[in-house]
Symmetry: C2
Subunit: 280 residues, 2 copies
Amino acid sequence: VTDTTAPAAPNPHGDAPATTQPGPPPPLREVAEDVRRRTAAEEARTIVAGSNVATLASLSTDGHPWGSFVTYGTLADGSPVLCLSTMAEHGRNLPRDPRASLVVATRAGDNDPLDSGRVTLAGTAEAATGLELDDARDAYKAAVQGAEAFMDFGDFTTYVLRVARVRWVGGFGRMDSTDAASYAAAQPDPVAVSAPYAVAHLNEDHADSLLEMAQALAGYTDATAARCTAADRYGLDLVVSTPRGRAPTRVGFAEPIIAPNGLRSATVELARRAKAVLAG
Amino acid sequence: VTDTTAPAAPNPHGDAPATTQPGPPPPLREVAEDVRRRTAAEEARTIVAGSNVATLASLSTDGHPWGSFVTYGTLADGSPVLCLSTMAEHGRNLPRDPRASLVVATRAGDNDPLDSGRVTLAGTAEAATGLELDDARDAYKAAVQGAEAFMDFGDFTTYVLRVARVRWVGGFGRMDSTDAASYAAAQPDPVAVSAPYAVAHLNEDHADSLLEMAQALAGYTDATAARCTAADRYGLDLVVSTPRGRAPTRVGFAEPIIAPNGLRSATVELARRAKAVLAG
């Protein structure tokens, strides 16, 4: 029996063309419920929290859309903070027309850039004043090294982007829109920074545990191998190999992780739980 | 004598505030003429040639500027080629209003992102047809891995961005605008890819040659050390240390480099020329 059936090639825009290809094999034992995933709002907040560079789209005098590179900080509710000079075109655009959107993209590294996460925050840019100005300045300075050197020059204004509409694309076939309230209420994933290391470590040193998770917790009782492809505060994404072909699946942590260093203990609990199921 | 006078802190928008700080020390011997630098058009072409990911600014139904992540290829005249689906908002925006701009940013790596190169190309996006469509498709496929898998779906259109206006920012205090004709006529720097390695190699293994270049060719006869900060088809950027402080300077190749592997021989010629001046 060979094991070469890969999941069907994805349409990068999420709409599968009519096809007769079989899908990936289902689990052999029913799994209670879908494992929780980050919402679009959480994905967006996580991407925005993970960078300090973005592209701003504003409107030039003649209404032409004008894109420009910016650095940004983030307020507690996820609102981006910009610090722009009227010597730059974007800094002259916003006082005339505050409509703007901000695009933050994760770095694809060696991966397919179309399969990488990005988010568009559309809204209006408002010059910060009063108490919010202090917050906004602190957020910008915390995010942008050396901001003190220029943000007090008279030609600079500190803006808060009032987010009205959010569009998140996570990669092939993973995308959704969300609204301002959901975006503001969501939290960035605390383990986003440590996840890539954890994924590499699990695949290198704990392939046996991943296999047990796939067999015991994801219903793939015939799995012969399992590889972790992503980790987040709610669980692990796996690709399992079975005699029936390969399939993507997911296993969930007992509780959502709330601390940046929480991936290890959550994964240990998952591994113990899988071992207990297989033993029992 | 100490050597701690750094060049004055740069205003990231290029406009120096009134200051009483002395500038960097001038050369002690007059140098014939300024060493040629890449034009804004050449800088823009080089940045565009060095990537395949960008942010597109287009106009939503209500005229709101909409930013979105895109991949692109490049025609021989530097016109970007996009391949967009009507399932995505940008793909519905352009048929309604072709005004757009495209922002390409170089990756700052560990450097200050505000000191990194980026360019905005503003113009109108036109669906490619006829012979140009073949060119555009080839350019897109050459730049975007796996493009064959989606670009023939019925919801995708291949666009050429007709560039009308170009704004280049090279980093602190280095920025300029250029027009469509200059952009189209310019060539990307053939040594852009190899330059970072060459710069590291020069600093690690040929500090003596860099010092001789600074002394003999840049007029800093009192230089005690020189570090290369950038290399391009026309020459090397150096920072020289002297008893009078540190200063940025530049030395030029005998001829502009036209081949991707041309940095080594051009630099060897520069080193020989410096040694000959000092010996003579």
